[in-house]
């Protein structure tokens, strides 16, 4: 009986974990520029999983593994082809971290296959929203561990 109560009470938590990342991408002049906002805590925890428990976000910028990590988890495909991306940088502002990426893409895409797997291996309830602006058209993908890629049409 005691265990039943412990389980029941542990389900009710006043502070909700909010496992979300939101990214904005915009195509302009042959370049798809992206900003991903993530919770600094989530990013550091995920990096620690891969690179060891003493890994710190503050020093990550000097580490080329960060760029590889981000590009492995976030990107676009066009007609089945992966777009080759480039990690531009990161800014840490308290709770949030902003990751900057860019993908050379000569012509405005008619459609893009979006993926963002960030933190899916850490949180079952992670949601990653990816907004893509292409000219006047704004489209948005809602990605989760159950559905980690989505095709956006810009016609």
């Amino acid at each position: 009986m005691g265990i039943f109560w412990i389980i029941l009470v542990s389900l009710f938590k006043p502070a909700h974990d909010f496992h979300v990342s939101i990214s904005q991408a915009e195509w302009e002049n042959g370049l798809l520029k992206c900003t991903i906002r993530v919770f600094s805590e989530d990013l550091e925890m995920s990096l620690q999983k891969d690179f060891g428990a003493d890994y710190r976000l503050e020093t990550a910028l000097k580490d080329e593994r960060l760029a590889k990590y981000v590009l492995k988890h976030y990107g676009f495909r066009q007609d089945g082809q992966m777009l080759k991306g480039e990690f531009v940088g990161m800014e840490i502002e308290n709770d949030l971290s902003f990751l900057y990426l860019q993908f050379p893409l000569e012509n405005a895409p008619a459609s893009l296959d979006v993926y963002n797997l960030l933190f899916f291996d850490s949180f079952e309830d992670q949601s990653n929203i990816v907004n893509v602006q292409c000219g006047a058209v704004l489209r948005s993908a809602f990605l989760s561990p159950q559905k980690n890629t989505q095709i956006l049409e810009f016609k």
Binding site: V9, F12, P14, D95, F142
Partner: protein, 191 residues
């Protein structure tokens, strides 16, 4: 999809998933005294609750809401304890009274403080302040109305088909909510 739809879904799923059970417990306690025929009163009360926590969530940029998180985690279950106790009084059981709306609004303000880490994520980097915040709050409201709808059906079945009194339902729900929330209060004791 347009971003609006996805932010709406984010708010909706946040309540429907098990992440926000304290929200649902508050709603169930808040509506425990109402008969199904007074469903509109329930919808209004729940909307006042949404309004309350939307306000504190949207004020996230101001330091006013930078209250110690430990205290908030204690205050949130305390609102449920208080609501459950109120349900046992004649005053709290008065279905005609509008007092419940004000309770819902002010307790909504407290529940919204538990959302403080959401603000930056939903606002910073958006071209427009309301772009993500408005649909997120609407999604929360939609999910809460769904909870209310399901509860009203259950309460209707209880009342009409089983021919039981809403008073017994209220005692059962308020007692359970009181017990659960009291344990949460003790676990999150901040002093």
């Amino acid at each position: 999809m347009h971003p609006f739809t996805n932010y709406l879904r984010l708010g909706y799923e946040h309540i429907i998933s098990l992440a926000a059970l304290d929200h649902i417990l508050f709603l169930i306690a808040l509506m425990a005294v109402y008969q199904t025929k007074n469903w509109l009163k329930v919808v209004i009360a729940v909307s006042f609750f949404t309004l309350g926590h939307s306000v504190t969530l949207s004020l996230g940029a101001l330091d006013v809401v930078n209250i110690d998180q430990g205290l908030i985690e204690f205050l949130i279950p305390l609102t449920i304890v208080f609501t459950a106790l109120l349900n046992l009084t004649k005053f709290g059981q008065n279905q005609k009274s509008n007092f419940k709306y004000w309770i819902a609004l002010s307790f909504g303000l407290i529940h919204g403080l538990g959302f403080s880490n959401y603000y930056d994520m939903l606002v910073m980097g958006e071209s427009n302040y309301w772009q993500a915040l408005l649909p997120f709050n609407l999604g929360i409201e939609l999910a809460q109305l769904l909870v209310v709808f399901v509860m009203l059906i259950i309460m209707g079945i209880y009342g009409f088909m089983l021919n039981k009194k809403i008073r017994d339902w209220n005692l059962f729900i308020s007692g359970s909510a009181f017990g659960l929330a009291l344990i949460m209060c003790i676990e999150n004791w901040p002093f």
